[in-house]
Symmetry: C2
Subunit: 332 residues, 2 copies
């Protein structure tokens, strides 16, 4: 079966090609009987309009380009799934790329999106590197999970997240604090800042540092093992991990050294993914659905109304979900 075009349908239905176009696009100005006949032919032969031609003609593809930084973390998978579902509801498809935290790759992806005539971009940014030129694009874009001044963005208050965790640790009687992550980000700054506010200081040796490039099981485990080898038994009684995977990896590595969670070390993760739920790890909840819905609303607005006013910045508040990994009162 060779590809059919509108012309073929027109011939089969004894009408002109524009009439077929009108029928397909629900143009009312067309005789009902003719419309029915055309529809019948379309059904019979299984004709599907060529979106490349439609895109070319309307300079709109009904595709949203999405670029995330990783998919190892189930949080992003859930994010993508929700994005896809919500986009589908309003008639958009998603073109998905993975920058793997690499700004060069991110920019290549964006070029590709533009070449494919996407109507909008949704980005989990790999770094600040591309933000400026993204803001200069004629294609509207929204940053998700983080806030960036130059662009429409919708993120979580990471500073506040760090603070919430510190406060819960302090309430539970902890005095020595650990952090598990890849970099000095806002989560850490909130964590560190809140410690100071409460009269504590963060001991740098309690930073379990993973490489940004350690985004698989083997590499993360290696970094954590390295920490234990260098430091021995950790000098903290509670720890905040930058995401649930890190929390889980740390928990397993600790348990193998007979460090009990939460008795010896209380643990809080980030993202509140299914991993945290299954494993009973406390975690900072990110309201994915809310974020996604707002993101798409903003984007759709930009696409349809093209109002290039000042960037919209929305910041959602984090919530700590307490589970067994941190349900422990410290008495000493």
């Amino acid at each position: 079966m060779t590809k059919l075009t509108m012309k073929d349908i027109a011939r089969l239905a004894n009408v002109s090609q524009p009439t077929v176009s009108r029928v397909i696009n629900g143009n009312k100005a067309v005789n009902e009987d003719i419309a029915k006949k055309v529809m019948k032919v379309i059904e019979e032969v299984g004709y599907i309009p060529n979106k490349a031609a439609q895109t070319l003609k309307k300079s709109s593809s009904h595709i949203i380009g999405v670029c995330v930084t990783e998919v190892y973390n189930p949080y992003f998978v859930e994010l993508i799934e929700t994005l896809e579902a919500e986009c589908r509801k309003i008639g958009y498809n998603i073109l998905l790329h993975n920058s793997k935290h690499n700004p060069i790759t991110e920019w290549e992806s964006i070029q590709n999106f533009l070449a494919r005539q996407v109507d909008g971009l949704i980005l989990v940014p790999a770094s600040d590197y591309n933000m400026q030129r993204i803001s200069e694009l004629s294609t509207p874009s929204v940053i998700i999970t983080q806030n960036k001044p130059q662009l429409d963005s919708i993120g979580l208050n990471h500073l506040q997240a760090g603070k919430i965790v510190v406060e819960s640790f302090i309430r539970a009687g902890h005095k020595k604090f650990g952090f598990i992550g890849t970099e000095i980000d806002e989560k850490f700054l909130g964590f560190d800042g809140s410690l100071r506010e409460n009269g504590f200081t963060f001991d740098k040796r309690n930073y379990v540092r993973l490489e940004v490039t350690s985004i698989d099981n083997f590499l993360m485990r290696r970094d954590i093992e390295k920490y234990f080898t260098e430091v021995g038994r950790p000098d903290f009684t509670c720890a905040f991990a930058a995401n649930d995977i890190m929390a889980l990896e740390f928990m397993k590595a600790a348990q193998e050294r007979n460090i009990r969670i939460p008795e010896d070390i209380s643990l809080v993760g980030f993202d509140d993914t299914y991993l945290a739920k299954i494993m009973g790890i406390s975690s900072i909840h990110q309201p994915i659905e809310e974020m996604v819905k707002m993101t798409i609303e903003i984007l759709q607005n930009r696409i349809e109304h093209e109002v290039s006013s000042t960037p919209v910045t929305i910041q959602l508040e984090p919530m700590l979900i307490e589970r067994n990994s941190s349900r422990w009162k410290r008495i000493d």
Copy 2:
């Protein structure tokens, strides 16, 4: 910055539009100086060719449509990531859909792929429902993870996987066998068949059955809880789970009831995902990279040579990776 076309570049470089096209497509029959000038202009203004127009002209989009059944299982995430990486290497993008085990959704996705002029399809089938009409498409397609007679397919020998697991259980001294899954599939048939061959029978009450629709943490857990509530302490000393998530959920639910893994119940999962690695769950390894590479090779062949010979069927052999969840000799 409004969208630029080849015509604009041509004007800026004082050449004709087809010359720009030649330069971009690396056509050698073009004066070097002119080529350089054109390239310079392209660089300066940041021109990107319109792929919708290219697609329309060449009736080839350089897109592969991929439709999977779920993304909750990290196995599929890894599969998708590998597919994307391999496709990118040969200049293809991926359009990703999720059928959520629904054949209707699957067919809609395929229609969408065809509308977008994809050059090929890669499918994790939702059921046999669409196989026939997929085989009648003019767009080449390959089924991955399972074997289907009508189509090119590359899968794992699931029967053999069930058999391997049974044999390892028997060697460890087990006599009462459990299965955790959603349906009577080949894994189960291999498991059950091998039990018979070895003089055992599978007790239906030892089937921990999850709904096909239970593809998230909450629902799977509910199904497993239901099993424990109905059956009480399971009457098996070893169990084979249809995937790693199920294995993990079962493990956690069991442990909460003071059933020890592996001492009381030895456990083997399926897919050998990072979950199994982190949690020390034995699992059947699926050679993702090998599968993906072969899939793409077959597809590329079909796309380029269009040889519609008989379907290619490749079946890879499973391998059991033993970890702590089943390292236990049963003596009774």
